[in-house]
């Protein structure tokens, strides 16, 4: 019996190959490609997902170690067809350029807002400090997170 965990509320079992990462499962098995493979060694942050509500690196997490965990990916946020307010704020703020970091930024913001609904700019910057953006200079992303806190 392979370890099971939930992804966006649906049960999922890790592959028999014990070396598969959570990112492999999300991208290759479940076709949830919002989590990106920017470096595959835990630095760039583009693979970030929420693991039991906390931002984590899907590329570093072995799928087998996720037994019993609740995984939330970016695809869950607009499951009803309506983008999450933070997604709308990011777009409106001009915080989305090439977009490769954006899904992870969305989840970093969600993770922050869940525990700190009205973050300051410094708190927002700290929350995304493990996520590299090469396009925006971060200011617009911070703006969007702070604004979403006021929604």
């Amino acid at each position: 019996m392979n370890p099971t965990f939930t992804v966006n509320g649906r049960s999922c079992s890790a592959p028999a190959d014990g070396t598969a990462t959570l990112l492999d499962v999300l991208r290759d098995q479940l076709a949830l490609t919002g989590a990106k493979r920017g470096c595959n060694y835990g630095v760039c942050g583009t693979c970030s997902v929420l693991i039991d509500g906390v931002l984590g690196r899907a590329c570093l997490a072995l799928a087998a170690d996720c037994a019993g965990r609740e995984i939330v990916t970016v695809e869950a946020l607009d499951a009803d067809g309506t983008p999450d307010p933070i997604q709308q704020r990011l777009v409106a703020a001009g915080a989305v350029q090439c977009g490769f970091c954006t899904p992870a930024m969305v989840l970093a913001a969600r993770g922050l807002l869940a525990v700190n609904p009205r973050p300051s700019r410094a708190e927002a910057a700290a929350a995304i400090s493990g996520n590299i953006c090469r396009c925006s200079g971060y200011g617009a992303i911070v703006d969007a997170i702070v604004a979403a806190g006021h929604d």
Binding site: N40, E75, G99, P103, S129
Partner: protein, 758 residues
């Protein structure tokens, strides 16, 4: 308020929600039936002969479908020197150079197969710096250089792939008369593009042998041309399509892995996806040119700048690629945006056994502007002048000529400096402020656009311009919508695809808004004229009496009810009279080079590339005297964009450029340990994170460019350029020490502070 409806508004980017919801498809997100996965073997040597390559064990591995080596790519390529091969043939020239490629059932299997390829090398002495490469009797990076095809066939010394000089006036005589002369050597480092999406391509051949290549690229047309060239196929057999591009910054301007994916697909008769790992991308791809710049600038006691001389050596790495043009552009810019009549600018590009240097946001400009803008401050200090004041005294203005004789039709540099001065706060204790200017171009070569009015009156815009994230598709759609008087949501921006899109040279050179925007304006204008022709017949009036009305209607001016909708006009065109309404336009920036009466030029001098753009920035810093760390607190960035088609997008380019400039100034440096890159990982190669960012205050200046679409010109590259010299000037301001080498690391700052104390 804007006088336009769509232009000048901060319309959200067209694919913003698609990207924010994770549904945008980058190459690695794409899957084709039966798709194989590619992997690439890299050279472990900086310089070696390839004695033999044995791929039999790799081919014997079950699940491996194809292995390629250098012998599979007999055609050399290169825009200026035909020195480059897709896979090393007979010789490797840098650590990381692609040597073989595999297509297999899974990525893991493909990597396993790489381990089974046996390459027998015979190591050769390598040249790791221009100084080593240019030394007498140095080993040659390209033994066969003389046999290569070259676009600029001037005689060159060994291990040099380009030499260019530009002279105007009489610099030596002018220096002799100067009251103040400053002179120094400035060094800049290899900066890595670090687009967050590693390079990748997916290729698939049809039964007739035509290959479709989806890839992360800056120009589908350059991909098409180069893949055809290296495969020895007609361009008509290659179809290149842009996927979403996760950043490029110049690093995806030339081909990356598209030729490998294409041949793997042709040989295996299966779709093949080849996406580099981050390690492979660092080791195989490209950096900004490292530079060593000797520069000398002279001024009169009253502050007038009169002479500048420079000798620039760029490290081009193992293959020439665009180095010749990067050098030519660096020289064109090296005078700086000042009225300096006497210049002597010389440059060369050395081959070394390092990975290739390439265009990178700024294209030679950050290097020379670091030197040049430091020297302006050095002169200001010698003369006891305010740095902004000295720059204002000498700044070029509209109507002046650039090096080579190009007239500046519009120039907002003075306003940039004045707005900067007005924005700067009173000096805070312990903080230094430094200023630097930038001039750049927006233009280059040719492009085209097609505007089709669909049966229901909505519009499809095709330009072939790939959006790298800057928002080109949004801005071009805004220009199209404005010209036709329709809301933005009625314009469909077609995915760049060489089978359907009209030619666009590239997304690069800060050119898309200006060049492609001109083509869109003309094509949409042509479509509008055809709509008017129909409307005149339908409304039984003269064309001159017609006007565009909001929402896609044409009416008789002054007669409120008399109008027809685009939908009705286009239906008439499609089903009754005249045929479908299509506007198309081709444009070329016809530069014409240098005025020979003004400039003496040798080598690959490039002038009149496009419209000039200008900016000025100020950096406010604090310095920790214990650690040597520079903390940048605020950066004010004033940039003349002609007209901001989309102010939020302009501010985004400014902030993003400043962030990359900050990395260039303080952190980013691909170091070498002997022949090997010492820090080719994101762990060890530091790019700025959210907590390192200062407050960035964008100041948008609008001096409409007469030839630009609604007066607009480019903003992609300039914001990166002045950051490093502004910070270096701030360091001199607050601590009195002058660093002439990037990045401005804590160690260098401490060394300089120590030296100043003794």
């Amino acid at each position: 308020m804007t006088e336009f409806g769509v232009v000048g508004t901060s319309a959200p980017r067209l694919d913003g929600i698609e990207k924010a919801t994770g549904r945008a498809a980058y190459v690695d997100d794409m899957v084709r039936p039966g798709m194989l996965h590619g992997a690439v073997l890299r050279s472990a040597y900086a310089h070696a002969l390839i004695v033999s390559v044995d791929v039999s064990a790799a081919l014997a591995l079950p699940g491996v479908h194809c292995v390629l080596t250098g012998d599979d790519f007999p055609h050399r390529y290169g825009a200026f020197v035909q020195d480059e091969v897709v896979l090393a043939r007979g010789r490797v020239r840098y650590v990381g150079e692609p040597v073989a490629a595999v297509a297999a059932e899974t990525p893991a299997l493909a990597r396993e197969a790489l381990n089974l390829i046996a390459v027998d090398y015979e190591e050769l002495p390598a040249v790791m710096t221009p100084a080593e490469a240019l030394a007498p009797d140095a080993p040659l990076v390209h033994e066969d250089f003389a046999a290569y095809g070259r676009r600029v066939a001037v005689p060159l010394p060994p291990n040099v792939c380009a030499v260019t000089t530009i002279a105007e006036g009489d610099a030596d005589a002018a220096f002799a008369d100067c009251d103040v002369v400053v002179e120094g050597v400035y060094r800049t480092q290899p900066q890595v593009h670090v687009y967050l999406e590693p390079c990748g391509a997916l290729a698939e051949a049809d039964a007739a042998g035509k290959v479709t290549v989806w890839s992360s690229c800056q120009s589908v047309f350059r991909v098409q041309a180069t893949v055809a060239e290296v495969l020895g196929l007609p361009m008509s057999r290659i179809r290149a399509i842009a996927s979403k591009v996760g950043g490029a910054f110049g690093g995806k301007s030339d081909v990356t892995v598209q030729p490998l994916a294409a041949l793997l697909a042709l040989r295996s008769r299966r779709p093949v996806k080849l996406v580099l790992t981050r390690d492979d991308d660092f080791m195989m791809m490209r950096t900004r040119h490292p530079a060593e710049i000797w520069m000398k600038t002279g001024a009169m006691a009253d502050g007038r700048l009169v002479a500048r001389a420079a000798r620039i050596t760029l490290d081009g790495g193992a293959y020439a690629e665009d180095s010749s043009a990067v050098l030519g552009f660096a020289l064109l810019i090296a005078r700086g945006p000042y009225r300096i009549d006497h210049i002597r600018l010389e440059g060369q590009v050395a081959y070394t056994n390092r990975l290739r240097a390439a265009g990178f946001r700024g294209y030679g400009n950050p290097q020379v502007t670091f030197a040049g803008e430091c020297q302006i401050d050095e002169i200001a200090a010698r003369l006891g002048r305010d740095p902004i004041d000295l720059r204002l005294q000498n700044a070029v203005r509209a109507g002046d000529d650039w090096v080579g004789g190009q007239r500046l039709e519009a120039c907002g540099l003075v306003e940039c400096l004045e707005r900067l001065r007005d924005a700067l706060p009173p000096r805070m204790p312990g903080r230094g402020i430094g200023v630097a200017c930038v001039a750049h171009i927006s233009g280059i070569l040719s492009t085209s656009a097609i505007v089709r009015v669909l049966e229901d009156g909505t519009v499809t815009l095709s330009t072939g311009a790939v959006d790298l994230g800057e928002g080109a598709d949004t801005v071009l759609s805004q220009i199209c919508a404005e010209t036709l008087g329709v809301p933005l949501d009625r314009v469909n921006y077609a995915v760049p695809d060489t089978d359907g899109s009209p030619y666009n040279w590239s997304t690069g050179g800060s050119r898309v808004t200006y060049m492609v925007g001109r083509a869109v304006t003309a094509a949409a204008g042509q479509a509008r004229d055809r709509l008017f022709d129909h409307a005149a017949e339908m409304l039984e009036c003269a064309v001159v009496d017609l006007e565009l009305r909001p929402g896609g209607r044409v009416g008789i001016a002054g007669v409120p009810g008399a109008e027809v909708a685009f939908r009705d006009i286009s239906a008439r065109a499609h089903w009754a009279v005249g045929g479908p309404i299509i506007g198309n336009a081709s444009v070329m920036f016809e530069g014409g080079g240098f005025d020979p009466k003004r400039s003496a030029v040798t080598g690959n001098g490039i002038g009149r590339l496009g419209a000039f753009v200008f900016g000025a920035q100020a950096a406010e810093i604090e310095v920790d005297d214990v650690t040597g760390q520079i903390a940048v607190r605020r950066i004010w960035a004033a940039h003349d964009v002609g007209r901001a088609i989309n102010p939020t997008a302009v501010a985004g380019q400014i902030a993003g450029g400043v962030a990359q400039g900050l990395g260039y100034a303080l952190y980013e440096d691909l170091c070498f340990d002997g022949p090997n890159p010492a820090n080719p990982t994101l762990m060890d190669y530091k790019v700025p994170g959210a907590k390192e960012m200062p407050e960035i205050i964008p100041i948008i200046v609008e001096h409409p460019e007469p030839s630009g679409p609604f007066g607009a010109k480019g903003i992609g590259e300039p914001p990166l350029v002045p950051v490093a010299p502004a910070i270096a000037n701030a360091l001199a301001d607050v601590r009195g020490v002058r660093l002439r080498q990037l990045p401005l690391t804590p160690e260098r700052v401490l060394d300089a502070l120590d030296a100043a104390r003794t």
